[in-house]
Amino acid sequence: MTGPKILFYLLSIASVVFSLLSVLDRRILRAAIYLLFVLVAIAGLYYMMNFQFLAAVQLILYAGGIVVLIIFSILLTSQIDSKLDLPKLSHLLLGVVVAIGGIALSVFTFSQFTFQPSTAPALVVNMHTIGRQLLDTQEQGYALPFEVISILLLAALVGTIFIARKSRT
């Protein structure tokens, strides 16, 4: 066992176990905290794959932003010591069947597939390349999605304020 292997197993086991806990725990605030652990473990995986920028964005945006939003809304909408209802047996059965069946189907499909890695020389991923490609309009440039996402964020901002304001009547 080498270092990266141990780290990979630790992070993947942590993310699977904590996502199970986050789905199964009936105390909703704990579920949100388990979700935070999953997100941090996945950020560690990105870091292992040399995408440091993506790992940082994952930590800031998910762990710092979305989980805090979710915790706010939990505190605003539910009693903190109340437990979620037990799921109905039919829902539980449906969920188990869909999840197990989906996992079996996906594993069956991708285990037979051999992937062909590209032989082109690897790109050094640093902030310079990321910034250049994000604002480039040439080939391998992502200026258009970058601008579209800014419009989407503006629309989400306006829409959120409009939805959440108190109606005057």
Partner: protein
């Protein structure tokens, strides 16, 4: 760190499959809007693992998966913000966030 020699790509896909279907399971068994939103976040994260892993293992000469994951994250943030605005509005009207009790439309 170069993972290709240490960990096969199939392990990464297996991990993301597990996380994705756990998220789907959570969406299916819970009736609370906030827990359903958390399941959706799990599923989006699983998809992101796949994009990043394919980028790292199969096309190390490009950054396509990296940027796709970045954009998925931005959309997830926008989606969470809008969803929470909706949930708080629903809570004001119905005093509950359970999808079974929210069964009235405006007209």
């Amino acid at each position: 760190m170069n993972l290709q020699s240490e960990i096969p790509l199939h392990y990464m896909i297996l991990l993301s499959t597990l996380v994705f279907f756990i998220g789907l399971f959570g969406v299916l068994i819970r009736r609370n809007l906030i827990t359903m939103l958390m399941g959706i976040e799990l599923m989006l994260n699983a998809v992101n693992i796949n994009f990043v892993a394919f980028n790292h293992y199969l096309y190390p000469n490009r950054l396509e998966g990296h940027f796709f994951a970045l954009i998925v994250m931005a959309i997830a943030a926008a989606e969470a913000a809008v969803a929470i605005a909706l949930i708080i509005n629903i809570y004001r009207k119905f005093a509950t966030v359970s999808v079974d009790d929210v069964n009235e439309m405006k007209y």
